[in-house]
């Protein structure tokens, strides 16, 4: 078990299994198919992301460096949250990027969905955490990985 401390961008609590993307998370490419075809599990459709491709993102503790790609990213994340298909939490190794921040904040201000978001957890976090590990997020930005 290890604990990591980051900055709570959207403070909150969550418990979920880790889903780890070592490369940049392309929000549009990842959510495109699941949003379009009503896949409630949110299977990742980003062919360029071998860590996530085909894996369900809804309800997972999404661990990532940052998001990349289209500037629809934030509204895609907002839409996923409004439809209840958002990850349980977003855990960023690096400082959060502008698209992901927009999505997380839009979801928080304009929907009832809970998606605690922590950034700045460090490269060590992403080196340690593996898909399937148990994640606990606390409101102060503490992330426990077991």
């Amino acid at each position: 078990m290890r604990q990591f401390k980051g900055r709570p961008v959207i403070p909150g609590s969550a418990k979920a299994q880790a889903l780890v993307s070592h490369g940049g998370f392309n929000t549009l490419a990842s959510y495109q198919k699941s949003l379009m075809f009503g896949d409630k599990k949110g299977a990742c459709s980003d062919q360029n992301n071998p860590d996530l491709y085909g894996k369900p993102m809804a309800g997972a503790a999404l661990c990532l460096p940052q998001t990349i790609g289209s500037t629809t990213g934030g509204m895609v994340l907002y839409t996923a949250a409004a439809l209840g298909r958002q990850p349980a939490c977003l855990l960023f190794a690096k400082p959060i990027d502008s698209l992901a921040a927009a999505g997380a904040i839009l979801a928080d201000v304009w929907t009832d969905a809970s998606m605690p978001t922590v950034d700045g957890l460090g490269d060590e976090f992403l080196a340690y955490v593996q898909t399937g590990m148990a994640i606990t997020v606390e409101p102060d930005g503490t992330v426990t990985v077991e």
């Binding site: 961008v9 940049g24 392309n26 549009l28 490419a29 495109q32 949003l35 379009m36 075809f37 009503g38 062919q47 360029n48 460096p65 940052q66 998001t67 990349i68 790609g69 289209s70 500037t71 629809t72 990213g73 934030g74 509204m75 895609v76 907002y78 839409t79 409004a82 439809l83 959060i96 990027d97 502008s98 698209l99 921040a101 927009a102 999505g103 904040i105 839009l106 928080d108 201000v109 304009w110 929907t111």
Partner: protein
Amino acid sequence: METKMTLTSKQRALLSGEKGEAMAKVMETLVRYGETFGAEKMVPVTSDYGHLVTSFGLGVMKPIYGLMDQLIEAGALSGQKFSVDPRPLDKNVPSNALQNLVFKFMYSAQEGYEQQLNKLGLLQEDAFTCACYLPEIGNTPKKGEVLSWAESSAVVYANSVLGARCNRNSGIIELFGSIAGCVPHFGLLTDEGRKATWIIEVKTSKIPEAQVLGSAIGMKVMEDVPYIKGLSKFIGTALNESACAYLKDMGAATASNGAVGLYHVEGLTPEAAELGESLIAQGAKTYVIDDAELARVKAGYPVIWKNKEAQPKLAFIGCPHLSFAQLVDWTQKVEEGLKASGREKVAIPTVFTTAPAVQKEFQKTEYYARLQKTGVVLSYICPLMYMNNPLCGKQPVITCSNKLRTYTSAKYMTNGEIIEAITKGGK
């Protein structure tokens, strides 16, 4: 709401609900967005027009249209007119009856969404293009202007080639900035945020393929600002039509294969020409790009067609939308290719995409008839939206756009390779 940033009395009044709950939530979103990045104030949006990334009325994106309705009902309309990304459908683009049925179902909210855009502040009836900065559209920001735009390829172009100032805003955030008339001051809006933390040394033996060079840079630097050396010897030191077209395509690849919002090209882009290497931050890292590196990057693109050797059924050229000069250039290239192969028409159905306003201008010239003679279709469509359905997604589509490759199952080809394929029928 307690804020860390300093707000004017007018901004604070909006935040506290003086103009209703919807406007208060718009301001709350912008303030929290800015504070996440350490913004200490909001600054006025100074460009004439905005640009929105969301152009599609996808039936499944109901939450977006619900939010738009809330804004319209509350009178929280855009303070500036805006252009929007390309429309997702065009009957001129080849599609079969089944595909048309799927499109009708998928984009069932298109008409209603366009009505919402009109109410919110659409610039003109056909202001639908990702390349809104092209002169024919009339949304070309000036150096130093502050924008509230989204669309990654437009933001990176406006920042880099035009010297305007805009963060890589998400869809909805850009509309909120246009509604509130202000955006948080951080990142690419600041002098410090525009400094390069990467030096890119281009050491190729010939002019690099714009889309592959951009892809390599984007994948390496992610969201950082690169200062590119060694490129102006290939594309010159003047921002003429061909240099701008090259930078448009290169930039779109940096933004979609990575998350670049601004790049500087030594001796060429406005800030690099003015400030030179003083734009490079201390401790900047270096990435050397030579022929072998470009080949490595290109070889890494996955081909996800079921049959990887399938005969292509459709070719898309123009993501981002082609400029007028590019349309002329591509028309000539197709003609030359057909002449060399002894064919009269393209061997693979091919679509050139451009802005409606550019399309109108192009149709007035002799080149349009010449293009029609080759069998190439001219369209204002967004190829990315066209590709996003189960039927089109399975088609073996080829493209010279690295953005389209990234977001769809389209296979990437260089400009030369795709000309070869469409004029000679190769794979």
